[in-house]
Symmetry: C2
Amino acid sequence: MAVNLTEPDSLDSVPGVRLAAVAAGIRYKNRDDLLLMALESGAVTAAVFTRNAFCAAPVTVAREHLAAGAPRALLINAGNANAGTGLPGLAAARASCEAVAAALGCDAREVLPFSTGVIGEPLPVGRIADALPGAVAVLREDGWLSAMRAIMTTDTVGKGASRRIVIDGRTVTVTGIAKGSGMIHPDMATMLAYVATDAVLTAAELDACLRAAVDRSFNAITVDGDTSTNDACVLVASGRSGVRVADDPAHLAAFNEALQAVMDHLAQAIVRDGEGATKFIAVEVSGARDVTEARQVAFTVAHSPLVKTALFASDPNWGRILAAVGRAGVADLDVDRVTIDVADVRIVSAGGRDPAYTEEAGRRVMAAAEIPIRIGLHRGDAVARVYTCDFSYDYVRINAEYRS
Amino acid sequence: MAVNLTEPDSLDSVPGVRLAAVAAGIRYKNRDDLLLMALESGAVTAAVFTRNAFCAAPVTVAREHLAAGAPRALLINAGNANAGTGLPGLAAARASCEAVAAALGCDAREVLPFSTGVIGEPLPVGRIADALPGAVAVLREDGWLSAMRAIMTTDTVGKGASRRIVIDGRTVTVTGIAKGSGMIHPDMATMLAYVATDAVLTAAELDACLRAAVDRSFNAITVDGDTSTNDACVLVASGRSGVRVADDPAHLAAFNEALQAVMDHLAQAIVRDGEGATKFIAVEVSGARDVTEARQVAFTVAHSPLVKTALFASDPNWGRILAAVGRAGVADLDVDRVTIDVADVRIVSAGGRDPAYTEEAGRRVMAAAEIPIRIGLHRGDAVARVYTCDFSYDYVRINAEYRS
């Protein structure tokens, strides 16, 4: 059903970052479910975490450890979210960091833990600890593809992307992997993303790059507006290329573009893999007074169940898009200036159906698997784009029957 | 499928308010689709309208006429929303007021027009005008039941309620009717409500009573968060009882209680009639710092498609309710103090699943057709309650196939 991108068949290594995927038997049989990422000394790490007040135990511990100093390892398990687990959950997350520290020879506070899977079940720390020595033994820089697969839960395809740029004759690599199918399976669909580069960046520079890229990628996708207890996105800079990208604005721009491309690819891949999704929708708002206003309109349309069910039905029900724009809370919106286009067909102008619009043209563009909806507010220069998918029978089936 | 209240078999007349329902053939055959309400001279009217920037033509005209002076008549048609119709739509709304004025012998600006039905089609003003003399001929104070049925579109039952209070030996009546099935059928599901009383109130007093009652009734229901282009709620006070309810705080309280009871009944009836709804859900938030915060949490839970699909499946998926509370944007929420109860079963305490909770108890309460969800924030005294329904296969079917 999904509108997937193709799974990558190779990902570029990032010097200074080694990965190992092993089968710890946390929940799945006969597949890798534990990923260890070892970072060279001197690597710099930035991260953003879920804003959900009910955050999972590993999120609490990862935040704490990141604030304490430069991490030397990331540990990610699939199959168990260690969320809604109270104090025992926190103890389990800390114990898993201790186990990594022992296996790798670092401090437990230099380990960031991440979990994804079912909520409310105890994390089997023993199995994780048992699997770690084997993981350390197989750490390698070209382990990205198996790493990508080890963190999958309800994902139907692996999600990864690489970009390379050349600066003054030296190559800088950005590679990232992600898992998640957009909160379609909320108990299992935490969104996790790990991106690494060998560029040289300070912690502050790296943090700024990450936040800007997340804002336009992972923070601009929605399936149903829900936010997981475990979401996280981590960016690591090993510095091994020796290229200080922030020294030259043109170099920084090139780096940010490569980073954005990787993050956009991963974010899109998550929306497209929504189980039950049959259409991929880009809602683009232009002519807003500011970005906040543009995002507000884009998200109101992208969250509307009425718009999303109409898209599933390939129904050019322009009244629903128009009503969503109208209730987005834009102050003093002059509805007579608003234009709405679906692909190359103008459907709304002058406060109502465009005179040249025909149902036939509407049906044609709504029948596509990828549908761009362009909303022009014509009152400023700000733009925003949000990716989403449709609401299908399968959305209800999957979410209603998931635990049965 | 709906979880309906029983349709009333009688509604109390309100002296000074006469009603006539007739068949104008606007869209339906063999049924009344036009309602005329004639108000005695001296009647006071208050109204609230949709906040959607794309409001329908009759909303624009009704707002304008209400500001100009005391209305003598309300005209409501079913089958055509006169929305998304641009300047011709405005002209049609004005023409329908002219037709009422001619038939009733008043000024066109003393008429408030309302429309509900399909969006984007021209209003057949000629048929409305043709039907009006017949309507004027049958105006009667006991016409509420047929009035209730004339304004239905996708409703499966009529919605009406009456309350009577006795003040100093004199009876004051409040009667109301409403239509709507909660934006389940957005093109046809405008929410309209008309409530009348024979109490004596000034325009300012009436407006305050209406806004307070709407806030806790129609503004506290949601099916999918969408807002129609035509929504309106009107409160008329004919004054014929001679009882000035605002002269005595106890009398005003009794009146407001009766008004609230009528409006609550109508609002609940709309949520319960959501096509595709199989459960009626009351989300009650207590212990918030202020009402805004309480409503924010209640609406975040009530809007969550993940919570709503779990309710459809009778699945006690407490992680979804917990995650919705967590992402509601409450500043400094201490998750360890949050409690969540479904009916008489505590499901969440101390930041996770309550120790005494069992899946069996959870399944029992989630299997009911009426499910109260109580969320305690334990940080203040403010409360809020929001009514909603579940998301079923039929929600998608109805909304996807509606126009096909």
